[in-house]
């Protein structure tokens, strides 16, 4: 039954592709850092216009960039793209659940702290 098994990684993706992905990953990380520097760090002073237009989107942009990085590693380095669908489901479902839980907890806590019933009268 060994013919069932996924063929080796090399069959799908050559070293060259790994290198290409590595380059993209670095570019993305560099963009993250640059984004931070542009919005809040050293570059802020030299390009104030860019800074003010980007900083409201800072968090969202960061999340998109890292999600993309995450996706690249998972799909190509972890080979999910070519592997069994079950594995994609398994990982995908856990990730979605994990994200929902983080978001829900975060919402519950910030929401609680801002609404009146947590107002807190000094005792």
């Amino acid at each position: 039954m060994s013919d069932h098994h996924a063929e080796g990684v090399g069959a799908h993706t050559a070293s060259a592709e790994y290198i290409r992905i590595a380059v993209v990953l670095f570019a993305l990380t560099a963009m993250e850092v640059l984004l931070y520097e542009a919005c809040f760090g050293h570059l802020k002073a030299s390009m104030p216009g860019l800074s003010t237009s980007l900083s409201p989107w800072f968090v969202q942009l960061l999340l998109v960039l890292s999600a993309f990085k995450f996706w690249l590693v998972a799909m190509f380095y972890m080979h999910l793209k070519f592997d069994l669908k079950v594995l994609q489901w398994l990982f995908g479902f856990s990730l979605v659940l994990a994200t929902i839980v983080i978001m829900a907890l975060f919402t519950l806590f910030t929401y609680n702290r801002t609404l009146w019933w947590w107002g807190g009268v000094p005792w």
Binding site: V86, S94, L97, I100, V101, L105, L108, F109, Y111, N112, L115, W117
Partner: protein
């Protein structure tokens, strides 16, 4: 360790002493039996604790036990019943029957399986050991902060709880990985996912719940341990820690946990009903999808345990509605069970009694659950005996009834003897009567305003009669387990020898001798349909297949026994105990922890390089 696996592989198995054999076994059936036996003992201990609780509450202002001991009792009762009784009794069925039901020789990782068992047993003993020191956990089974913090719980009581649960969590996670893999990957040829016995589906979904909810409690317990031992303040007020975080994390785990307790029960009943109705399960795929849906929804309702905390109307509404939704897939299950019975030819054997009892009682518990889900109404019921009634109807009326059904159903396969039918039915009726007498009045005493977890109540509030009824019921209920124990002993001594297929079963385990031989299937089965055994019988035109012969296992390779699972477990326990006994020294880990850690690491290393080539059994 002089006794390396290789020696085992080639020396004759007969030379091993029985003790060594059981300590080193990696056979899923032996492991299952050890799970079952130890869990049943823990169940009796938990039941005994309940009986003391009930005796204390028999009349108002009673002074049988001190308040602190009472708190220890209900904390240990809840913790024991959930983590040391229902979960491991389910694990007994997972272990013994999942490989048999899917036509496999063992689980995917037999040694990991043994490790789960040993960690569980050591964790259970460790928790109960606290009684000997007079310092059993006393903070309730959900250990709310800040009551569980060092400041309000200075003794070792809650250390035992934190570490005990941490240990048990690791056992569950390891088993979760193992069974998920086993079910996906070890099925007999031809057994597609949608041909799997429904119990196996239940186990699969349960493991998903375990895998995704236990990490949360693991982290929460780590925080609590850090708070108690290393002076952090995750839940301590002194440095702005928020006790609400504990509640959220606990229930993010806690609600999926209750489905971890009930889904295996659903699975068992779904196996039993078709066999005794002589009719396939009604709506198999709906049964599968409803379980998956219950599990999925189960992750989005945790805050229904926190309606009284004042989360605000939006959150309350969300969690209220999400909780109610669960009634729909659960209803589908109930109705499909009735659909299975409908038009059948019901064979009234003991397993069917308990399975029917399960359906009848679980409906009751489920409906009181829906009443809880109505957030404003829950403000009156939460933390009252109404909740106690609700969860005993689902946990005892649900899980325990079903697990007992499973025990009667599968006993002949496990031990080769049929349990006595007459005693079994007596067990059922006494249990049903005792159960309802115990827990039905609790609905009312709760609505009349009795809070839970109180060690006594004053006269004059109208609680007296109802509590007395509950107490009488509890003793009746307890005596039903004496009948069961007697049945076991009697069967052990002189029970009727069980044939391979006493009930006209539909699934693969009934095709092999009772009890199964070490290698389960002499010939790997090939499956072409659901209910494969019925198909086989139908094709052969017989009601009962010829008794399968016991064969020699010549040439069959099985995984070798190993000491390492036990050693790793001991090391792990030592590591955590070391953290507990460390008394605020500057160095984070004491020598005991370090020794434990070293043993664990060494064990894992040796384990990884231990050859897994099997031995050829000779029996």
């Amino acid at each position: 360790m002089a006794t390396s696996a290789l020696e085992y592989g080639h020396a004759t198995a007969a030379k091993r002493s029985v003790l060594v054999e059981w300590l080193t076994t990696v056979d899923h059936k032996k492991i299952g039996i050890m799970y079952g036996a130890s869990a049943f003992i823990f169940f009796l201990i938990g039941g005994l604790e309940a009986l003391v609780i009930r005796t204390q509450l028999m009349r108002p202002d009673n002074h049988l036990v001190t308040p602190d001991f009472y708190n220890q009792l209900f904390t240990m009762h809840g913790t024991t019943m959930i983590f040391l009784a229902v979960m491991p009794i389910s694990a007994m069925f997972f272990n013994f029957f999942v490989p048999l039901l899917i036509g496999a020789r063992d689980v995917a990782f037999p040694r990991l399986n043994a490790m789960s068992l040993w960690i569980f047993i050591l964790g259970g003993l460790f928790l109960n050991f606290s009684f000997l020191l007079g310092a059993a956990p006393n903070g309730g089974w959900f250990g709310y902060a800040p009551l569980s913090s060092r400041m309000y719980a200075p003794g070792h009581n809650m250390d035992f709880w934190v570490i005990g649960l941490q240990i048990l969590g690791v056992a569950s996670l390891a088993a979760g990985v193992n069974f998920f893999t086993t079910i996906l990957n070890m099925r007999a040829r031809g057994m597609t996912l949608m041909r799997m016995p429904i119990f196996v589906w239940a186990v699969l979904v349960t493991q998903v719940l375990v895998l995704l909810s236990f990490p949360v409690i693991t982290v929460a317990l780590i925080y609590l341990m850090l708070d108690r031992t290393f002076g952090t303040s995750f839940f301590n007020l002194t440095a702005n820690g928020d006790p609400m975080l504990w509640q959220h994390l606990f229930w993010v785990f806690g609600h999926p946990e209750v489905y971890i307790l009930i889904l295996p029960a659903f699975g068992i009943v779904s196996e039993i009903l078709p066999v005794f109705a002589r009719k396939p399960l009604f709506g198999y795929s709906a049964m599968v999808f409803s379980m998956a849906f219950i599990a999925f929804l189960g992750f989005g309702v945790w805050s229904h345990h926190m309606f009284a905390t004042g989360m605000g109307p939006l959150a309350d509404s969300f969690f209220s509605l999400a909780t109610m939704l669960i009634a729909i897939p659960t209803g589908v299950k109930i109705f499909n069970w009735i659909g299975t019975l409908w038009g059948g030819s019901l064979q009234f054997k003991t397993p069917l009694y308990f399975a029917l009892g399960f359906i009848a009682m679980f409906i009751m518990g489920g409906l009181s659950g829906v009443i809880h889900a109505v957030a404003p109404a829950d403000l009156q019921q939460t933390d009252s005996y109404f909740v106690v009634a609700h969860f005993h109807y689902v946990l005892f009326g649900g899980s325990i009834f079903s697990l007992t059904a499973g025990a009667y159903y599968w006993w002949p396969k496990m031990f080769g003897k049929l349990l006595d039918e007459g005693l079994g039915k007596a067990h059922f009726w006494v249990m049903l009567a005792g159960f309802n007498l115990t827990f039905f009045p609790m609905h009312f005493v709760g609505l009349l305003g009795m809070p839970r977890r109180i060690y006594s109540y004053p006269a004059g509030l109208g609680f007296d009669t109802l509590n007395l009824l509950s107490t009488v019921g509890a003793f009746l209920l307890g005596s039903s387990f004496l009948i069961f124990s007697y049945n076991i002993i009697k069967t052990w001594r002189s029970g009727a020898q069980a044939p391979a297929d006493p009930w006209n079963g539909a699934t693969l385990e009934w095709s092999i001798p009772s009890p199964p031989q070490e290698w389960n299937f002499a010939v790997e089965p090939i499956v072409t349909e659901k209910d494969p055994l019925w198909g086989l019988k139908r094709a052969a035109g017989v009601k009962v297949l010829p008794e399968p012969p016991r064969v020699s296992g010549e040439g069959i390779h099985l995984p070798a026994p190993s000491w390492w699972p036990l050693i790793v477990s001991v090391g792990f326990l030592t590591f955590l105990v070391g953290i507990m006994v460390k008394h605020a020294s500057a160095f984070p880990f004491g020598p005991i922890s370090i020794a434990g850690f070293a043993i664990t690491l060494y064990g894992i290393y040796k384990w990884a390089y231990e050859p897994v080539d099997g031995h050829a059994p000779t029996t």
